[in-house]
Protein backbone atom coordinates (compact mmCIF):
# COMPACT_ATOMS: atom_id res chain seq x y z
CA UNK A 1 0.00 0.00 0.00
CA UNK A 2 2.74 2.37 0.97
CA UNK A 3 4.67 1.43 -2.12
CA UNK A 4 1.69 2.27 -4.26
CA UNK A 5 1.53 5.78 -2.88
CA UNK A 6 5.08 6.21 -3.84
CA UNK A 7 4.86 5.28 -7.49
CA UNK A 8 6.25 8.17 -9.38
CA UNK A 9 6.98 8.39 -13.01
CA UNK A 10 10.46 6.90 -12.79
CA UNK A 11 9.93 4.12 -15.33
CA UNK A 12 8.21 4.32 -18.64
CA UNK A 13 5.47 1.91 -17.60
CA UNK A 14 4.67 4.17 -14.69
CA UNK A 15 4.36 7.06 -17.06
CA UNK A 16 1.70 5.16 -18.93
CA UNK A 17 -0.01 4.41 -15.66
CA UNK A 18 -0.03 8.11 -14.87
CA UNK A 19 -1.55 8.81 -18.23
CA UNK A 20 -4.38 6.33 -17.91
CA UNK A 21 -5.07 7.55 -14.42
CA UNK A 22 -5.22 11.04 -15.74
CA UNK A 23 -7.75 10.18 -18.37
CA UNK A 24 -9.98 8.43 -15.92
CA UNK A 25 -9.65 11.10 -13.24
CA UNK A 26 -10.07 14.05 -15.51
CA UNK A 27 -13.18 12.71 -17.13
CA UNK A 28 -14.66 12.24 -13.65
CA UNK A 29 -13.64 15.74 -12.64
CA UNK A 30 -14.97 17.23 -15.85
CA UNK A 31 -18.21 15.35 -15.41
CA UNK A 32 -18.63 16.89 -11.97
CA UNK A 33 -17.92 20.35 -13.34
CA UNK A 34 -20.54 19.87 -16.05
CA UNK A 35 -23.13 18.76 -13.50
CA UNK A 36 -22.42 21.76 -11.28
CA UNK A 37 -22.67 24.10 -14.24
CA UNK A 38 -26.00 22.55 -15.13
CA UNK A 39 -27.26 23.23 -11.60
CA UNK A 40 -26.13 26.85 -11.91
CA UNK A 41 -27.98 27.12 -15.20
CA UNK A 42 -31.23 26.02 -13.56
CA UNK A 43 -31.72 29.37 -11.84
CA UNK A 44 -31.44 31.04 -15.23
CA UNK A 45 -33.95 28.56 -16.57
CA UNK A 46 -36.25 29.30 -13.63
CA UNK A 47 -36.34 33.03 -14.26
CA UNK A 48 -36.88 32.45 -17.97
CA UNK A 49 -39.77 30.09 -17.26
CA UNK A 50 -41.31 32.48 -14.75
CA UNK A 51 -41.16 35.35 -17.23
CA UNK A 52 -42.36 33.24 -20.11
CA UNK A 53 -45.31 31.64 -18.35
CA UNK A 54 -46.57 34.79 -16.66
CA UNK A 55 -46.06 37.08 -19.61
CA UNK A 56 -47.50 34.69 -22.16
CA UNK A 57 -50.71 34.53 -20.15
CA UNK A 58 -50.85 38.18 -19.23
CA UNK A 59 -49.72 40.10 -22.27
CA UNK A 60 -52.52 39.05 -24.68
CA UNK A 61 -55.11 40.59 -22.34
CA UNK A 62 -53.08 43.77 -21.99
CA UNK A 63 -52.76 44.01 -25.77
CA UNK A 64 -56.45 43.34 -26.28
CA UNK A 65 -57.46 45.95 -23.72
CA UNK A 66 -54.68 48.38 -24.62
CA UNK A 67 -51.91 49.15 -22.11
CA UNK A 68 -53.25 52.61 -21.22
CA UNK A 69 -56.76 51.34 -20.85
CA UNK A 70 -55.63 48.34 -18.79
CA UNK A 71 -53.54 50.42 -16.40
CA UNK A 72 -55.87 53.41 -16.05
CA UNK A 73 -59.39 52.18 -16.56
CA UNK A 74 -61.07 52.18 -13.18
CA UNK A 75 -63.65 49.58 -13.96
CA UNK A 76 -62.77 46.05 -12.89
CA UNK A 77 -65.73 43.87 -13.81
CA UNK A 78 -64.11 40.67 -14.98
CA UNK A 79 -67.39 38.81 -15.40
CA UNK A 80 -68.65 41.36 -17.90
CA UNK A 81 -65.29 41.62 -19.66
CA UNK A 82 -64.07 44.91 -18.20
CA UNK A 83 -60.45 44.53 -17.22
CA UNK A 84 -59.17 47.86 -15.94
CA UNK A 85 -56.75 47.65 -13.03
CA UNK A 86 -56.58 51.44 -12.60
CA UNK A 87 -58.07 51.33 -9.10
CA UNK A 88 -55.69 48.59 -8.01
CA UNK A 89 -52.68 50.21 -9.64
CA UNK A 90 -53.39 53.45 -7.82
CA UNK A 91 -54.32 51.48 -4.70
CA UNK A 92 -50.92 49.78 -4.59
CA UNK A 93 -49.14 53.10 -4.99
CA UNK A 94 -51.30 54.92 -2.42
CA UNK A 95 -50.84 52.27 0.27
CA UNK A 96 -47.11 52.02 -0.45
CA UNK A 97 -46.48 55.76 -0.34
CA UNK A 98 -48.54 56.23 2.81
CA UNK A 99 -46.45 53.50 4.41
CA UNK A 100 -43.21 55.13 3.26
CA UNK A 101 -44.44 58.47 4.59
CA UNK A 102 -44.09 57.36 8.18
CA UNK A 103 -41.70 54.41 7.93
CA UNK A 104 -38.90 56.29 6.15
CA UNK A 105 -38.47 59.09 8.73
CA UNK A 106 -38.80 56.70 11.65
CA UNK A 107 -36.51 54.17 10.01
CA UNK A 108 -33.90 56.77 9.17
CA UNK A 109 -33.94 58.20 12.67
CA UNK A 110 -33.47 54.73 14.08
CA UNK A 111 -30.68 53.85 11.67
CA UNK A 112 -28.81 57.03 12.62
CA UNK A 113 -29.44 56.22 16.25
CA UNK A 114 -28.03 52.72 15.84
CA UNK A 115 -25.03 53.78 13.79
CA UNK A 116 -24.04 56.91 15.66
CA UNK A 117 -25.70 57.38 19.02
CA UNK A 118 -26.65 54.11 20.66
CA UNK A 119 -24.20 52.33 22.93
CA UNK A 120 -22.96 49.16 21.16
CA UNK A 121 -25.06 46.96 23.42
CA UNK A 122 -28.29 48.71 22.49
CA UNK A 123 -27.31 48.72 18.82
CA UNK A 124 -26.87 44.97 19.06
CA UNK A 125 -30.18 44.38 20.85
CA UNK A 126 -32.07 46.54 18.33
CA UNK A 127 -30.28 44.67 15.54
CA UNK A 128 -31.54 41.30 16.71
CA UNK A 129 -35.04 42.72 17.31
CA UNK A 130 -35.08 43.92 13.71
CA UNK A 131 -33.85 40.57 12.48
CA UNK A 132 -36.76 38.95 14.23
CA UNK A 133 -39.20 41.58 12.92
CA UNK A 134 -37.97 40.78 9.41
CA UNK A 135 -38.51 37.08 10.04
CA UNK A 136 -42.11 37.32 11.25
CA UNK A 137 -44.39 36.11 8.45
CA UNK A 138 -46.62 38.60 6.68
CA UNK A 139 -49.72 36.64 7.61
CA UNK A 140 -48.94 37.21 11.29
CA UNK A 141 -48.64 40.95 10.66
CA UNK A 142 -51.91 40.85 8.74
CA UNK A 143 -53.56 39.02 11.59
CA UNK A 144 -52.28 41.54 14.12
CA UNK A 145 -53.50 44.37 11.90
CA UNK A 146 -56.92 42.79 11.55
CA UNK A 147 -57.33 42.18 15.27
CA UNK A 148 -55.71 45.32 16.72
CA UNK A 149 -55.24 48.10 14.19
CA UNK A 150 -58.48 47.78 12.22
CA UNK A 151 -60.74 47.94 15.31
CA UNK A 152 -58.63 50.81 16.66
CA UNK A 153 -59.16 52.84 13.48
CA UNK A 154 -62.86 52.00 13.44
CA UNK A 155 -63.22 53.07 17.06
CA UNK A 156 -61.23 56.31 17.03
CA UNK A 157 -61.05 57.54 13.46
CA UNK A 158 -64.26 56.26 11.89
CA UNK A 159 -65.08 54.16 8.86
CA UNK A 160 -65.10 50.41 9.20
CA UNK A 161 -61.35 50.29 9.88
CA UNK A 162 -60.40 48.19 6.87
CA UNK A 163 -58.57 50.97 5.08
CA UNK A 164 -55.58 52.51 3.33
CA UNK A 165 -54.38 53.61 6.76
CA UNK A 166 -54.49 50.13 8.26
CA UNK A 167 -52.57 48.78 5.26
CA UNK A 168 -50.03 51.58 5.45
CA UNK A 169 -49.41 51.03 9.16
CA UNK A 170 -48.83 47.29 8.74
CA UNK A 171 -46.74 47.68 5.58
CA UNK A 172 -44.69 50.39 7.25
CA UNK A 173 -43.85 48.07 10.12
CA UNK A 174 -42.95 45.32 7.69
CA UNK A 175 -40.51 47.41 5.67
CA UNK A 176 -38.83 49.03 8.69
CA UNK A 177 -36.17 46.29 8.98
CA UNK A 178 -35.22 46.67 5.30
CA UNK A 179 -34.95 50.45 5.54
CA UNK A 180 -33.10 50.48 8.86
CA UNK A 181 -30.60 47.72 8.13
CA UNK A 182 -29.44 49.05 4.77
CA UNK A 183 -29.32 52.70 5.91
CA UNK A 184 -27.48 51.83 9.08
CA UNK A 185 -24.88 49.83 7.16
CA UNK A 186 -24.31 52.66 4.71
CA UNK A 187 -23.97 55.22 7.49
CA UNK A 188 -21.50 52.95 9.26
CA UNK A 189 -19.56 52.58 6.03
CA UNK A 190 -18.81 56.31 5.80
CA UNK A 191 -15.04 56.71 6.28
CA UNK A 192 -14.14 57.81 9.78
CA UNK A 193 -11.95 60.65 8.50
CA UNK A 194 -15.04 62.48 7.20
CA UNK A 195 -16.58 62.48 10.61
CA UNK A 196 -13.38 63.36 12.42
CA UNK A 197 -12.67 66.13 9.93
CA UNK A 198 -16.04 67.69 10.59
CA UNK A 199 -15.78 67.38 14.37
CA UNK A 200 -12.29 68.85 14.25
CA UNK A 201 -13.72 71.93 12.57
CA UNK A 202 -15.89 72.48 15.60
CA UNK A 203 -19.16 71.06 14.27
CA UNK A 204 -21.43 69.41 16.82
CA UNK A 205 -22.26 65.73 16.57
CA UNK A 206 -25.69 66.46 15.07
CA UNK A 207 -24.30 68.97 12.59
CA UNK A 208 -21.81 66.33 11.54
CA UNK A 209 -24.59 63.78 11.11
CA UNK A 210 -26.78 66.02 8.99
CA UNK A 211 -24.08 67.80 6.95
CA UNK A 212 -21.50 65.04 6.52
CA UNK A 213 -22.69 61.54 7.35
CA UNK A 214 -26.12 61.60 5.72
CA UNK A 215 -24.94 63.15 2.44
CA UNK A 216 -22.08 60.65 2.29
CA UNK A 217 -24.46 57.75 2.93
CA UNK A 218 -27.06 59.11 0.53
CA UNK A 219 -26.92 56.39 -2.11
CA UNK A 220 -27.24 53.65 0.51
CA UNK A 221 -30.24 55.38 2.04
CA UNK A 222 -31.88 55.76 -1.36
CA UNK A 223 -31.27 52.09 -2.05
CA UNK A 224 -32.87 51.25 1.29
CA UNK A 225 -35.98 53.29 0.49
CA UNK A 226 -36.38 51.84 -3.00
CA UNK A 227 -35.99 48.27 -1.74
CA UNK A 228 -38.49 49.00 1.03
CA UNK A 229 -40.86 50.33 -1.59
CA UNK A 230 -40.43 47.19 -3.69
CA UNK A 231 -41.18 45.05 -0.70
CA UNK A 232 -44.31 47.07 0.10
CA UNK A 233 -45.66 46.89 -3.45
CA UNK A 234 -45.07 43.15 -3.62
CA UNK A 235 -46.53 42.35 -0.21
CA UNK A 236 -49.76 40.40 -0.37
CA UNK A 237 -51.20 38.61 2.62
CA UNK A 238 -50.87 41.35 5.22
CA UNK A 239 -52.50 43.86 2.89
CA UNK A 240 -55.37 41.57 1.91
CA UNK A 241 -56.26 41.11 5.55
CA UNK A 242 -56.52 44.77 6.54
CA UNK A 243 -57.50 46.92 3.54
CA UNK A 244 -61.08 45.84 2.83
CA UNK A 245 -60.25 45.05 -0.81
CA UNK A 246 -62.92 47.11 -2.57
CA UNK A 247 -61.87 47.53 -6.19
CA UNK A 248 -62.51 51.27 -6.25
CA UNK A 249 -60.32 54.35 -6.02
CA UNK A 250 -59.85 55.19 -2.33
CA UNK A 251 -61.31 58.63 -1.49
CA UNK A 252 -59.23 59.16 1.66
CA UNK A 253 -56.98 57.19 3.95
CA UNK A 254 -59.95 55.73 5.81
CA UNK A 255 -61.47 54.26 2.64
CA UNK A 256 -61.02 50.62 1.73
CA UNK A 257 -58.62 49.86 -1.08
CA UNK A 258 -57.48 46.91 -3.19
CA UNK A 259 -53.88 46.45 -4.28
CA UNK A 260 -52.68 44.55 -7.35
CA UNK A 261 -51.33 41.74 -5.19
CA UNK A 262 -54.63 41.41 -3.33
CA UNK A 263 -56.45 41.31 -6.64
CA UNK A 264 -54.46 38.25 -7.68
CA UNK A 265 -54.74 36.27 -4.48
CA UNK A 266 -58.43 37.06 -3.92
CA UNK A 267 -59.68 35.99 -7.34
CA UNK A 268 -57.17 33.38 -8.48
CA UNK A 269 -59.04 30.65 -6.67
CA UNK A 270 -62.09 30.80 -8.91
CA UNK A 271 -61.11 32.82 -12.00
CA UNK A 272 -61.16 31.13 -15.40
CA UNK A 273 -60.58 32.12 -19.02
CA UNK A 274 -60.07 35.83 -19.72
CA UNK A 275 -60.64 36.65 -16.08
CA UNK A 276 -57.72 34.43 -15.06
CA UNK A 277 -55.63 35.90 -17.86
CA UNK A 278 -56.41 39.38 -16.53
CA UNK A 279 -55.01 38.31 -13.16
CA UNK A 280 -51.85 37.16 -14.89
CA UNK A 281 -51.79 40.53 -16.62
CA UNK A 282 -51.95 42.14 -13.17
CA UNK A 283 -49.02 39.91 -12.21
CA UNK A 284 -47.15 41.00 -15.33
CA UNK A 285 -47.50 44.66 -14.40
CA UNK A 286 -46.43 43.91 -10.83
CA UNK A 287 -43.48 41.85 -12.00
CA UNK A 288 -42.19 44.57 -14.33
CA UNK A 289 -42.67 47.22 -11.66
CA UNK A 290 -40.68 45.25 -9.07
CA UNK A 291 -37.86 44.32 -11.45
CA UNK A 292 -37.64 47.97 -12.44
CA UNK A 293 -37.44 49.06 -8.80
CA UNK A 294 -34.75 46.50 -8.04
CA UNK A 295 -32.84 47.67 -11.08
CA UNK A 296 -33.00 51.28 -9.89
CA UNK A 297 -31.93 50.23 -6.40
CA UNK A 298 -29.01 48.40 -7.94
CA UNK A 299 -28.00 51.46 -9.93
CA UNK A 300 -28.26 53.65 -6.85
CA UNK A 301 -26.01 51.40 -4.77
CA UNK A 302 -23.54 51.08 -7.66
CA UNK A 303 -23.48 54.86 -8.10
CA UNK A 304 -22.65 55.10 -4.41
CA UNK A 305 -19.79 52.67 -4.77
CA UNK A 306 -18.36 54.60 -7.70
CA UNK A 307 -18.55 57.83 -5.71
CA UNK A 308 -16.76 56.27 -2.80
CA UNK A 309 -13.90 55.00 -4.89
CA UNK A 310 -13.32 58.40 -6.48
Amino acid sequence: MMEKLNTMVSTSSCSILAETQKRFKLSGEQFIEKILMLCAAISILAILLITLFIFSRGIPVILKTGLGNFLLNLEWAPTSGNFGIGAMFVGSLVVTFTALLWAVPLGLMTSIFMAEIAPPRIDKILGSLLELLAGIPSVVYGFFGLIVIVPFIREYLGGNGLSVLAGAIILGIMILPTIINISRDSIKAVPREYKEGSLALGATHYQTISRVLLPAARSGIITAIILGMGRAIGETMAVVMVTGNAAILPGNILSPVRTMTSNIVLEMGYATGDHQAALFATGTVLFILIVLLNFIANLASKAGRVNESN
Partner: protein, 278 residues
Protein backbone atom coordinates in the same frame (compact mmCIF):
# COMPACT_ATOMS: atom_id res chain seq x y z
CA UNK B 1 -24.56 78.38 23.55
CA UNK B 2 -27.28 77.33 25.90
CA UNK B 3 -29.89 77.30 23.13
CA UNK B 4 -27.90 74.93 20.96
CA UNK B 5 -27.31 72.77 23.96
CA UNK B 6 -31.05 72.50 24.56
CA UNK B 7 -31.62 71.82 20.86
CA UNK B 8 -29.07 69.02 20.94
CA UNK B 9 -30.87 67.54 23.90
CA UNK B 10 -34.19 67.61 22.08
CA UNK B 11 -32.70 66.02 18.99
CA UNK B 12 -31.07 63.39 21.12
CA UNK B 13 -34.40 62.67 22.77
CA UNK B 14 -36.05 62.26 19.34
CA UNK B 15 -33.50 59.64 18.38
CA UNK B 16 -34.00 57.65 21.54
CA UNK B 17 -37.74 58.01 21.05
CA UNK B 18 -37.73 56.62 17.50
CA UNK B 19 -35.67 53.63 18.58
CA UNK B 20 -38.09 53.08 21.46
CA UNK B 21 -41.02 53.17 19.06
CA UNK B 22 -39.41 50.39 17.02
CA UNK B 23 -38.77 48.32 20.11
CA UNK B 24 -42.30 49.11 21.30
CA UNK B 25 -43.90 47.93 18.06
CA UNK B 26 -41.99 44.72 18.33
CA UNK B 27 -42.89 44.08 21.94
CA UNK B 28 -46.56 44.90 21.37
CA UNK B 29 -46.93 42.55 18.39
CA UNK B 30 -45.07 39.61 19.91
CA UNK B 31 -46.50 40.26 23.36
CA UNK B 32 -50.09 40.52 22.16
CA UNK B 33 -49.91 37.29 20.20
CA UNK B 34 -48.09 35.53 23.02
CA UNK B 35 -50.64 36.60 25.65
CA UNK B 36 -53.66 35.72 23.52
CA UNK B 37 -52.16 32.56 22.06
CA UNK B 38 -50.54 31.11 25.13
CA UNK B 39 -53.78 29.93 26.72
CA UNK B 40 -54.87 28.21 23.50
CA UNK B 41 -51.71 26.26 22.80
CA UNK B 42 -51.20 22.95 24.56
CA UNK B 43 -50.18 19.47 23.49
CA UNK B 44 -53.74 18.72 22.42
CA UNK B 45 -53.80 21.75 20.14
CA UNK B 46 -50.62 20.61 18.45
CA UNK B 47 -51.39 16.91 18.15
CA UNK B 48 -55.07 16.82 17.16
CA UNK B 49 -56.43 17.39 13.70
CA UNK B 50 -58.65 20.38 13.02
CA UNK B 51 -62.36 19.68 12.66
CA UNK B 52 -65.27 21.75 11.33
CA UNK B 53 -62.96 23.76 9.03
CA UNK B 54 -60.73 24.59 11.95
CA UNK B 55 -63.40 25.84 14.31
CA UNK B 56 -62.56 22.97 16.62
CA UNK B 57 -59.65 20.64 17.22
CA UNK B 58 -56.02 21.49 16.85
CA UNK B 59 -53.60 22.14 14.01
CA UNK B 60 -51.77 18.82 13.61
CA UNK B 61 -52.41 18.40 9.89
CA UNK B 62 -51.24 21.93 9.15
CA UNK B 63 -48.01 21.28 11.05
CA UNK B 64 -47.50 18.14 8.99
CA UNK B 65 -48.32 20.08 5.84
CA UNK B 66 -45.71 22.68 6.75
CA UNK B 67 -43.11 19.98 7.40
CA UNK B 68 -43.81 18.21 4.09
CA UNK B 69 -43.64 21.40 2.05
CA UNK B 70 -40.43 22.47 3.77
CA UNK B 71 -38.86 19.07 3.19
CA UNK B 72 -39.73 19.00 -0.51
CA UNK B 73 -38.56 22.57 -1.00
CA UNK B 74 -35.22 21.87 0.71
CA UNK B 75 -34.82 18.59 -1.17
CA UNK B 76 -34.76 20.52 -4.44
CA UNK B 77 -33.26 23.82 -3.38
CA UNK B 78 -30.33 22.71 -1.20
CA UNK B 79 -28.51 20.51 -3.75
CA UNK B 80 -29.23 22.99 -6.52
CA UNK B 81 -28.25 26.06 -4.54
CA UNK B 82 -25.09 24.58 -3.03
CA UNK B 83 -24.00 23.17 -6.41
CA UNK B 84 -24.59 26.56 -8.01
CA UNK B 85 -22.52 28.22 -5.31
CA UNK B 86 -19.70 25.70 -5.75
CA UNK B 87 -19.72 26.23 -9.48
CA UNK B 88 -19.69 30.00 -9.21
CA UNK B 89 -16.98 30.19 -6.55
CA UNK B 90 -14.73 27.28 -7.49
CA UNK B 91 -15.07 26.70 -11.21
CA UNK B 92 -16.44 29.69 -13.11
CA UNK B 93 -14.15 32.55 -13.94
CA UNK B 94 -15.36 35.44 -11.83
CA UNK B 95 -15.93 37.74 -14.77
CA UNK B 96 -17.30 35.18 -17.22
CA UNK B 97 -20.59 36.07 -18.81
CA UNK B 98 -22.22 32.92 -17.49
CA UNK B 99 -21.21 33.62 -13.88
CA UNK B 100 -22.43 37.19 -14.11
CA UNK B 101 -25.70 36.03 -15.62
CA UNK B 102 -26.27 33.49 -12.84
CA UNK B 103 -25.49 36.09 -10.18
CA UNK B 104 -27.85 38.55 -11.80
CA UNK B 105 -30.60 35.92 -11.93
CA UNK B 106 -30.16 35.07 -8.29
CA UNK B 107 -30.42 38.76 -7.45
CA UNK B 108 -33.56 39.15 -9.54
CA UNK B 109 -35.15 35.99 -8.12
CA UNK B 110 -34.49 37.27 -4.60
CA UNK B 111 -36.41 40.45 -5.31
CA UNK B 112 -39.52 38.87 -6.81
CA UNK B 113 -42.52 38.96 -4.44
CA UNK B 114 -43.97 35.66 -3.37
CA UNK B 115 -47.31 36.25 -5.11
CA UNK B 116 -45.45 36.13 -8.45
CA UNK B 117 -43.90 32.81 -7.48
CA UNK B 118 -47.41 31.69 -6.60
CA UNK B 119 -48.73 32.70 -10.01
CA UNK B 120 -45.87 30.93 -11.73
CA UNK B 121 -46.18 27.79 -9.62
CA UNK B 122 -49.88 27.72 -10.37
CA UNK B 123 -49.57 28.03 -14.13
CA UNK B 124 -46.43 25.89 -14.45
CA UNK B 125 -46.55 23.11 -11.86
CA UNK B 126 -50.28 22.94 -11.11
CA UNK B 127 -51.60 23.35 -14.64
CA UNK B 128 -48.85 22.93 -17.26
CA UNK B 129 -47.15 19.93 -15.60
CA UNK B 130 -50.56 18.81 -14.36
CA UNK B 131 -49.37 18.21 -10.81
CA UNK B 132 -52.50 19.80 -9.38
CA UNK B 133 -52.63 21.58 -6.03
CA UNK B 134 -50.17 19.38 -4.25
CA UNK B 135 -47.18 19.11 -1.94
CA UNK B 136 -45.02 18.61 -5.03
CA UNK B 137 -46.27 21.77 -6.79
CA UNK B 138 -46.00 23.85 -3.63
CA UNK B 139 -42.64 22.40 -2.64
CA UNK B 140 -41.07 23.06 -6.02
CA UNK B 141 -42.47 26.59 -6.14
CA UNK B 142 -41.00 27.27 -2.72
CA UNK B 143 -37.72 25.70 -3.82
CA UNK B 144 -37.36 28.31 -6.56
CA UNK B 145 -38.29 30.98 -4.05
CA UNK B 146 -35.59 30.03 -1.52
CA UNK B 147 -32.97 29.14 -4.12
CA UNK B 148 -31.34 32.60 -4.09
CA UNK B 149 -31.04 32.61 -0.29
CA UNK B 150 -29.38 29.21 -0.25
CA UNK B 151 -27.11 30.00 -3.20
CA UNK B 152 -26.00 33.32 -1.81
CA UNK B 153 -25.27 32.20 1.73
CA UNK B 154 -23.41 29.16 0.37
CA UNK B 155 -21.42 31.40 -1.98
CA UNK B 156 -20.43 33.65 0.88
CA UNK B 157 -19.50 30.71 3.09
CA UNK B 158 -17.34 29.14 0.36
CA UNK B 159 -15.70 32.47 -0.35
CA UNK B 160 -14.75 32.75 3.32
CA UNK B 161 -12.87 29.44 3.38
CA UNK B 162 -9.18 30.43 3.56
CA UNK B 163 -7.44 30.06 0.24
CA UNK B 164 -4.53 28.28 1.94
CA UNK B 165 -6.75 25.28 2.71
CA UNK B 166 -7.28 24.72 -1.00
CA UNK B 167 -3.61 25.24 -1.86
CA UNK B 168 -2.47 22.85 0.85
CA UNK B 169 -4.94 20.19 -0.18
CA UNK B 170 -4.00 20.46 -3.85
CA UNK B 171 -0.30 20.40 -2.96
CA UNK B 172 -0.93 17.10 -1.16
CA UNK B 173 -2.07 15.65 -4.45
CA UNK B 174 -5.82 15.98 -3.93
CA UNK B 175 -7.85 16.59 -7.06
CA UNK B 176 -10.02 19.67 -7.35
CA UNK B 177 -13.20 17.81 -6.48
CA UNK B 178 -11.54 15.99 -3.56
CA UNK B 179 -10.45 19.37 -2.25
CA UNK B 180 -13.94 20.81 -2.63
CA UNK B 181 -15.76 17.87 -1.11
CA UNK B 182 -13.33 17.11 1.73
CA UNK B 183 -12.04 20.57 2.68
CA UNK B 184 -14.01 23.45 1.22
CA UNK B 185 -17.57 22.26 1.80
CA UNK B 186 -16.99 20.96 5.36
CA UNK B 187 -15.31 24.26 6.24
CA UNK B 188 -18.19 26.21 4.72
CA UNK B 189 -20.86 23.99 6.32
CA UNK B 190 -21.89 26.34 9.15
CA UNK B 191 -22.56 29.14 6.67
CA UNK B 192 -24.46 26.84 4.35
CA UNK B 193 -26.54 25.57 7.27
CA UNK B 194 -27.34 29.15 8.29
CA UNK B 195 -28.76 29.72 4.81
CA UNK B 196 -30.83 26.57 5.05
CA UNK B 197 -32.22 27.57 8.44
CA UNK B 198 -33.16 31.03 7.17
CA UNK B 199 -34.89 29.41 4.20
CA UNK B 200 -36.89 27.17 6.50
CA UNK B 201 -38.07 30.32 8.26
CA UNK B 202 -39.20 31.75 4.96
CA UNK B 203 -41.14 28.60 4.02
CA UNK B 204 -42.81 28.41 7.43
CA UNK B 205 -44.05 31.98 7.06
CA UNK B 206 -44.99 31.87 3.40
CA UNK B 207 -48.65 32.09 2.45
CA UNK B 208 -49.32 33.68 -0.94
CA UNK B 209 -47.15 31.30 -2.97
CA UNK B 210 -48.50 28.26 -1.13
CA UNK B 211 -52.18 29.05 -1.33
CA UNK B 212 -51.94 29.17 -5.14
CA UNK B 213 -49.89 26.00 -5.53
CA UNK B 214 -50.51 23.60 -2.66
CA UNK B 215 -54.16 24.41 -2.04
CA UNK B 216 -55.63 24.64 1.42
CA UNK B 217 -56.99 21.20 2.15
CA UNK B 218 -57.27 20.41 5.83
CA UNK B 219 -57.01 16.66 5.35
CA UNK B 220 -54.03 14.57 6.29
CA UNK B 221 -51.81 14.34 3.19
CA UNK B 222 -51.11 10.75 2.16
CA UNK B 223 -48.86 11.32 -0.83
CA UNK B 224 -46.83 14.02 -2.52
CA UNK B 225 -49.66 14.65 -4.95
CA UNK B 226 -52.12 15.51 -2.17
CA UNK B 227 -52.95 19.14 -1.43
CA UNK B 228 -52.02 20.49 2.01
CA UNK B 229 -52.58 23.47 4.24
CA UNK B 230 -49.67 24.98 6.13
CA UNK B 231 -49.93 26.75 9.48
CA UNK B 232 -49.57 30.15 7.83
CA UNK B 233 -52.33 29.44 5.31
CA UNK B 234 -54.47 28.08 8.15
CA UNK B 235 -54.01 31.30 10.11
CA UNK B 236 -54.95 33.33 7.05
CA UNK B 237 -58.16 31.41 6.46
CA UNK B 238 -59.15 31.26 10.13
CA UNK B 239 -58.71 35.02 10.52
CA UNK B 240 -60.02 36.28 7.19
CA UNK B 241 -63.10 34.10 7.19
CA UNK B 242 -63.64 34.64 10.91
CA UNK B 243 -63.79 30.91 11.60
CA UNK B 244 -62.18 30.96 15.02
CA UNK B 245 -60.22 33.85 16.47
CA UNK B 246 -59.12 31.77 19.41
CA UNK B 247 -57.56 29.13 17.16
CA UNK B 248 -56.10 31.81 14.95
CA UNK B 249 -54.27 33.21 17.98
CA UNK B 250 -53.03 29.74 18.86
CA UNK B 251 -51.75 29.17 15.32
CA UNK B 252 -50.11 32.59 15.18
CA UNK B 253 -48.41 31.89 18.50
CA UNK B 254 -47.02 28.57 17.28
CA UNK B 255 -45.71 30.24 14.11
CA UNK B 256 -44.07 33.07 16.05
CA UNK B 257 -42.41 30.66 18.49
CA UNK B 258 -41.13 28.61 15.57
CA UNK B 259 -39.72 31.70 13.87
CA UNK B 260 -37.99 32.79 17.08
CA UNK B 261 -36.43 29.34 17.44
CA UNK B 262 -35.33 29.34 13.79
CA UNK B 263 -33.79 32.80 14.14
CA UNK B 264 -31.96 31.73 17.25
CA UNK B 265 -30.60 28.63 15.55
CA UNK B 266 -29.40 30.68 12.60
CA UNK B 267 -27.63 32.92 15.10
CA UNK B 268 -25.95 29.97 16.78
CA UNK B 269 -24.72 28.52 13.54
CA UNK B 270 -23.45 31.91 12.41
CA UNK B 271 -21.58 32.30 15.66
CA UNK B 272 -20.00 28.89 15.13
CA UNK B 273 -18.89 30.11 11.72
CA UNK B 274 -17.16 33.23 13.02
CA UNK B 275 -15.66 31.15 15.80
CA UNK B 276 -14.18 28.73 13.29
CA UNK B 277 -12.76 31.34 11.00
CA UNK B 278 -10.99 33.24 13.77
Amino acid sequence: MKATNRLEKIINLCFWLSASVIAGIFIIIIGYIAVKGFSVVNLDFIFTAPTRAGKEGGISTTIIGTVYLTAVALLFAVPLGVSTAIYLEEYARRKSRFARLVNLTAETLAGIPSIIFGLFGFVFFVIFLNLGWSILSGGMTLAIMILPTITRTAQEAILNVPHEYRENSLALGASKWQTISKITIPSAAPGIITGIILSIGRVVGETAAIILTAGSSLGMPLSLSDPVRTMAVHLYILALEGISLERAFGTAFVIVILIIIINYMAHLSLRRLSHLSS
